[in-house]
Symmetry: C2
Subunit: 247 residues, 2 copies
C-alpha cells in the first residue's frame, strides 16, 4: 500500500528536511523514526521538497509504502503524539501505487515573509525575517520579479555548481503587503538549491535601491551567481503549497 | 514628563507581568531594567494589567514618569535592541501628567485561543491551548456566555480570597470559529485574578457537555469557586486590547 502524508513543521531547530547520517535533527529523520516504530519495520518516506536548514513548511507532502494495511487515523494520532511539537502530520491517506511525492509535484508555492515594521515581531519571530533597512520600494521589486517570471536558466540564482539543467519555470511572483509585513509568493514547477532565497535577496536589494530592477536581466543572461543578491535568511521561507499532478 | 508605552509580549517563559523580588523573569522587571539603563536612574513603570505567568499580550499599556526630556524614537529603538526577543515596545509617546495606565483603562479585551483541530498547531503552539476532547458545542457555550454578560458578582470566577469587591461588568463575550480554532473574546471593565481563565474553563465544560449552560447561573448566585469549571491553561490567553478613558 502507498500512503500520502501532509506535513507542517517549524524548521527553526532542524538541519532541513533530508535525513543525515551524522545528525538526528532532520524532519525526514524524525518522521521516519516514529513511523518505523509504529509499523515495526524500518520505513523510508519520500518528500516532495528538500527544504533547507531553518526553513519551514505549511504543507510538505511525502509518501511511503508498506505491506501493512494501516488504520490511517490511528497512525496519524500516534505520529502526532510522538513527534516533537514543531512537526505535525495534518493528514494521512491511501493513494494509488504510482503516486510519488517528489516526481508527482507539478507546482510548488513558496512564501517568504519580511517583517518591515519598525518594532520587531514577537509572536511570529521564528517565521519572519526582520528587515532593518530603508523602506522597501515594492513597485520596483514587482518590476524585477516580472522579469524573472517565465521559463529561464536560473543558474545565477543557485548555490550548487550542478551539471544538471538549471532551467526552471516560475509561474508567478506575487506580493502582499500590510503595514508590518511584506509577503512574497513564488510559484514554480521546481526550484534549485537556495533559488527562492537568492531571488528574494536580490529583490530586497532592488527594493532598497542597491540595484535596479533591470539589473536582474544580467543575472539570467550570464548565469553568474556572483552578480545576484545575497541569499536571504532561511527563517522567512515557508514551503506554502504543493500541487500534485497525480494522486 | 509622563510617557505611555504600548507593549507586546509572548509570556511563555515569564512569571507574569508584575515585578518579583526573587526572580528577574517578569515582563515588568525586564522592561524596567532596560528603561532604567537608558535613563541612568531607577525607573518604575505602571502597567494596565497584571497578566499571569505564561499569559501573553498583544497590546499591554504602561506609563512611566521621568525628569528627562526623552527622544521617544531613540528610546524605542534602544528598548527593542536590548529587550529579549519575546518582548517588544510597539510605541512610546508623551502623555499628560494625569495619565495612569492602570486607573485610566476603561475597558479591556482578552482573547482566549482554543486549537480544536485533530492535529496540533505547529506555528502558533505557544499561544493556543490544544483541545483534545469531544467536539465543542459552540451554541451551548454562547448561551452560557450570555448569562455572564452584564454586571455581576464574579466571586465564583476568582482564585483569590479577596475581601475587596468582586463585582465586575462584562460588556460582551463573543466567539469566532474556523475549522482549526475557536477564539473567545471577553470584554469588560476589569477582571479578577484568573477570572478570564475560569470563565473559559467553565465554557469549555459547557461546550463538551460536562455541564449545562444554565449551571453557570448557580456560580454567580452562590459565588462558590468550587462549582465553577477548571482554570483554563495560561498559554491560550492574550491581553488583546485596552481602551483608555484618558490619554
Amino acid at each position: 500500500m502507498n500512503y500520502k502524508m501532509e506535513i507542517t513543521y517549524e524548521g527553526t531547530k532542524y538541519r532541513g528536511w533530508q535525513r543525515l547520517k551524522n545528525s538526528d535533527m532532520t524532519i525526514q529523520g524524525k518522521i521516519e523514526a516514529v513511523l518505523s516504530r509504529f509499523l515495526g519495520v524500518e520505513t523510508e518516506i519520500n518528500g516532495a521538497s528538500r527544504t533547507d536548514s531553518g526553513v519551514h513548511a505549511l504543507c510538505q507532502l511525502a509518501n511511503f509504502k508498506t505491506e501493512m494495511a494501516v488504520d490511517v487515523s490511528e497512525l496519524k494520532a500516534y505520529m502526532n503524539q510522538y513527534l516533537p511539537e514543531d512537526i505535525c502530520i495534518r493528514n494521512i491517506g491511501a493513494v494509488s501505487e504510482s503516486y510519488h511525492a517528489r516526481f508527482g509535484s507539478k507546482e510548488k508555492v513558496y512564501l517568504y515573509r519580511i517583517w518591515k515594521a519598525e518594532y520587531p515581531s514577537v509572536f511570529e519571530r521564528r517565521t519572519v525575517t526582520q528587515y532593518r533597512g530603508v523602506s522597501l520600494d515594492v513597485e520596483a521589486m514587482k518590476s524585477a520579479a516580472h522579469i524573472l517570471e517565465g521559463e529561464h536558466d536560473f543558474k545565477g540564482f543557485c548555490t550548487d555548481k550542478t551539471k544538471k539543467s538549471t532551467v526552471r519555470k516560475i509561474n508567478a511572483i506575487t506580493f502582499s503587503e500590510t503595514d508590518e509585513e511584506l509577503k512574497i509568493f513564488v510559484e514554480g514547477n521546481g526550484f534549485l538549491y537556495n533559488m527562492v532565497r537568492i531571488i528574494v535577496g536580490t529583490l530586497m536589494e532592488v527594493g532598497s535601491g542597491q540595484r535596479t530592477a533591470e539589473s536582474v536581466k544580467r543575472i539570467i543572461e550570464t548565469g553568474d551567481r556572483n552578480i545576484a543578491g545575497e541569499t536571504a535568511p532561511p527563517q522567512g521561507l515557508i514551503l506554502y503549497k504543493i500541487e500534485n499532478s497525480s494522486v
